[in-house]
Structure formats: structure tokens, C-alpha cells
């Protein structure tokens, strides 16, 4: 079986993985980036909105342009970074120091990495309701990919479930693409995403129905509508269901970390609601309880791409330093400061609490 050696294997070519690869390569490490999709940049490539946050993290720049900046940075390292597209890292066999990967469905091979940085991102949550398996029920992220990467609209009239940032942004982009948005439903009593995104949808006349949820999808061969219900503060149904006509139901009900490799690597994990699922314990260097495995981005807890990029840089520097390379550990203070700024204030409260719940001071004395 074919074998590829790497100083650092980066799993995932999104904002976290590319940032990690750039730092590790800058330190002189031989890096392999395995990306399951067919392009680098992860979710950035479909993000046509401008980023918020700080200038260091490309505030004011559109997501797909940030992807290009990161790809250009990687390209400057030439042969030191090997990119494997369409490649899923399938298994971690720690005893032998072997990772297995599959390209497409045609090739299965081994990677022998000295260090691994898992930046595998997140997956969309689904919610159970009757008829949720008929054509026309989509994840909001999938709809965004369909439109902004492949240029295909999902339907003519969409019901959006969830008023977090993804639900709001995708609703606006559907409107931009000429698709009608019947309503945005949100089970909570308030909009979860930024007001500026909510305001854009409202200005275009889309109702945002708080304390509302979907009861069932209607339709036989495909979605023709939905029954929606109002909820009380305990999320129980109030009154009779109402019918809404639509041909697409879009679920924007959150993401959860894609953590299989970390489980396989024996990393100590903890369920943290504020980080949206099971996430690995980590030290300030983004190392897991497995001394050869680091993490960055959504797999370490759902947050924005801005934070993912900084975490990636921290992991890249530290994984390289652990190999005896001079990666510029003095950069770390700057990265931590930027991360602190992104998580500052009221909006960062939940993330700060979540991260604190899984951060250890060091691994000495910790049962690994």
C-alpha cells in the first residue's frame, strides 16, 4: 500500500487547516493537507458576505476572498506543502503511528505523520419532524453551497428554520438569487444572529417568526409546504398549526463538531453545550491529550472562521515547535491577544465559558 510521510498532517483545508499549514510550513515542516472536498478554503469559498471582527482577521473582506489570500500564502511555501484534494482521512492507528486516507473511492493509502492537526470542521444538525426525508428538505449550509459554489437555486419559495447567522445570511443570499423566502422561523424568543443580518432580511419583507417551529413537512414526492406552530417558553405547542406554502425547507439549526478522528486518537473529550457538542480538552497551544495531535477551528468548538484561523496558526506554530523547528513561538502572544479580542465582550461570553470548561493548564499530571 502506498505510504506518504509528513512532518505535519493537517486534516481539513478550511480556514483553520490552511492557517495551520501555513505556519507549520513557514517553520520548515513538510506538511500534507488532506481535504475531503474538491477545493481548498472550506466554507469560506461560498461565503459572499463581508467578515466582521478585526482587521487582522480580514474584517471587511468577503469570505471567498479570504480563502484566496490563504491559498496564496500556502502557495508561497512551494513543495513544502502537499495538498491532497478529494481525500478523506479515514482512520487513526496510534500504535503504529499510521493514518489511513482515501482519495475519491479509488485509492486507499497510508500517511505516516509525526504530528497531526485535526481541523475537520463541523457538520449541520438536523431536527426530526414528520416527512423530513422528502426531497426539498435541505441543510442551510448545503443550500449555500448549491447556490454560491455551483450556481443552482434549490427552489422557488423557501421556509427557513433558524434565525442564527447561517439562517439569516442564507435567507438574504436566497433573496439575492431571486428566490422567495416565505418566513424565517426561530424557536427561541430572540434572533440568534447579528442584527445587521436580520435587518437585511426584514427590510426585504421577510417575516421573522420568533417562538415558532416546524411541525411537519407537507408533500408526497417533494415538499409542497409545511405546518408551522407557535411555541411557549417551554417550547410546547400553542394553538393550532398553520400551513405555509413552500417547495424548500431549509434547516439552519446549528452545527456540531466533526470529531471522529479525535475520538479515534483517544483524545479526552467533553460535552460542552456552548461549543455545540463533544470537543477535545486542549491546552493553550491547541494540543489535545494525545501528545501528537493538535486541533483548530470548529472541531474544537463551533465559532466563527476568524477564530478558526487564529487557532490554526497557534496549532501550526506549536506542532512545528514540538518537532524542534523554530516556528517563532513569540508569535503566540500576538495570536492569543487576537483570539482574546475576538471573544471579548458580551457576544463572546458563551464561547469564553465554553473554552474555559475544556482548557487545561498543562498535560503534566493529567491522565492521558
Amino acid at each position: 500500500m502506498r505510504e506518504i510521510a509528513a512532518d505535519v498532517l493537517v486534516v481539513g483545508g478550511g480556514p483553520a487547516g490552511l492557517s495551520a499549514a501555513a505556519e507549520a510550513a513557514a517553520a520548515g515542516a513538510g506538511v500534507v493537507v488532506a481535504e475531503a472536498g474538491l477545493h481548498l478554503g472550506g466554507q469560506l469559498v461560498k461565503q459572499s458576505h463581508k467578515f466582521f471582527g478585526s482587521r487582522d482577521e480580514y474584517a471587511g473582506t468577503r469570505g471567498f476572498e479570504i480563502a484566496k489570500i490563504l491559498k496564496d500564502e500556502i502557495a508561497r511555501h512551494g513543495d513544502r506543502v502537499q495538498i491532497l484534494l478529494g481525500t478523506t482521512v479515514c482512520g487513526y492507528y496510534g500504535d503504529e503511528g499510521v493514518v489511513t486516507a482515501m482519495t475519491g473511492e479509488e485509492e486507499y493509502f497510508r500517511i505516516i505523520p509525526k504530528r497531526m492537526i485535526v481541523a475537520s470542521g463541523a457538520q449541520e444538525r438536523l431536527i426530526p419532524f414528520p416527512n423530513n426525508d422528502i426531497p426539498g428538505v435541505y441543510g442551510a449550509g448545503a443550500v449555500q453551497t448549491l447556490m454560491n459554489v455551483y450556481g443552482v437555486v434549490p427552489g422557488k419559495r423557501v421556509l427557513m428554520i433558524g434565525a442564527g447567522n447561517i439562517g439569516l445570511i442564507v435567507s438574504y443570499q436566497l433573496l439575492q438569487a431571486g428566490v422567495e423566502v416565505a418566513a424565517i422561523l426561530e424557536a427561541a424568543p430572540r434572533v440568534g444572529g447579528y442584527w445587521v443580518h436580520a435587518a437585511k432580511a426584514r427590510r426585504l419583507g421577510v417575516p421573522i417568526l420568533l417562538r415558532h417551529s416546524i411541525k411537519r413537512a407537507l408533500g408526497g414526492e417533494a415538499v409542497t409546504g409545511a405546518e408551522i406552530i407557535e411555541l411557549d417558553e417551554k417550547f410546547n405547542q400553542v394553538g393550532a398549526p398553520e400551513e405555509i406554502e413552500c417547495d424548500t425547507i431549509c434547516l439552519a439549526v446549528g452545527l456540531t463538531p466533526t470529531s471522529e478522528l479525535l475520538w479515534q486518537a483517544g483524545c479526552r473529550m467533553k460535552y460542552v453545550p456552548a461549543l455545540c457538542g463533544h470537543v477535545p480538552l486542549r491546552d493553550a497551544l491547541m494540543r489535545t491529550s494525545n501528545e501528537n495531535v493538535w486541533m483548530a477551528g470548529d472541531v474544537s468548538g463551533i465559532e466563527e472562521a476568524s477564530a478558526a484561523m487564529i487557532e490554526g496558526r497557534i496549532a501550526g506554530v506549536c506542532a512545528a515547535e514540538s518537532l524542534g523547528l523554530k516556528a517563532g513561538a513569540k508569535k503566540l502572544d500576538g495570536f492569543w491577544e487576537r483570539l482574546g479580542n475576538l471573544r471579548a465582550g458580551e457576544t463572546g461570553e458563551k464561547i469564553r465559558a465554553g473554552v474555559a470548561a475544556v482548557t487545561v493548564a498543562g498535560w503534566e499530571g493529567e491522565a492521558v
Binding site: E105, Y108, P128, K215, E260
Partner: protein, 94 residues
Amino acid sequence: MDTDDVVVCRCEEVTLDEIRAWIGRGYCHFDELKRILRVGMGPCQGRGCRDIVLRELSRATGEPLEAIDPGTVRPPVKPIKIGLLAYGGEDAPK
């Protein structure tokens, strides 16, 4: 909610009804449900359904979600054609 037409595991077409019925029979661990129902054993390996099943287990047992064991994750994370393994990682010779 009618639960017989609520699909939880799309890959293996397992419904909420089935999951609740087997939890009712004492199958109170994700791995037990996986072995009896194949929930989480399809192409997505539980990435779509694990959360929903864990929430059902939490609801039925009264344990908080953080106390529910999410089950064992083994390689591979996605199905591999047996022929690929048989021929050392390459497609079978034509």
C-alpha cells in the same frame, strides 16, 4: 408528534418510532441501538443521526446529555470498497 414517519438515520432509514421502541425495551446505549437497528452504520457513519439519538436517550433516561455515552468511534469514518483493501489500496485490475 407522529413518530412513525420521522426519519432519524437517513442512511439506514431508521425512524424515531423504532428508536423509541427499542429504548423502551432497555436498549439504553448508542452502541446497542446501532447493533440492533444499524442506526449510524451507513455512509455518513452517524454524523447526521447521532445527536438526535443521544437526545432521545437523554430524554428517556432523564440523564443530562453530557452524561450520555456517545458510543465508540472506530475507523474508517466512511465506507471503503472491500476491493480497494483487497488490492492494497488500488482499484482492482480491469
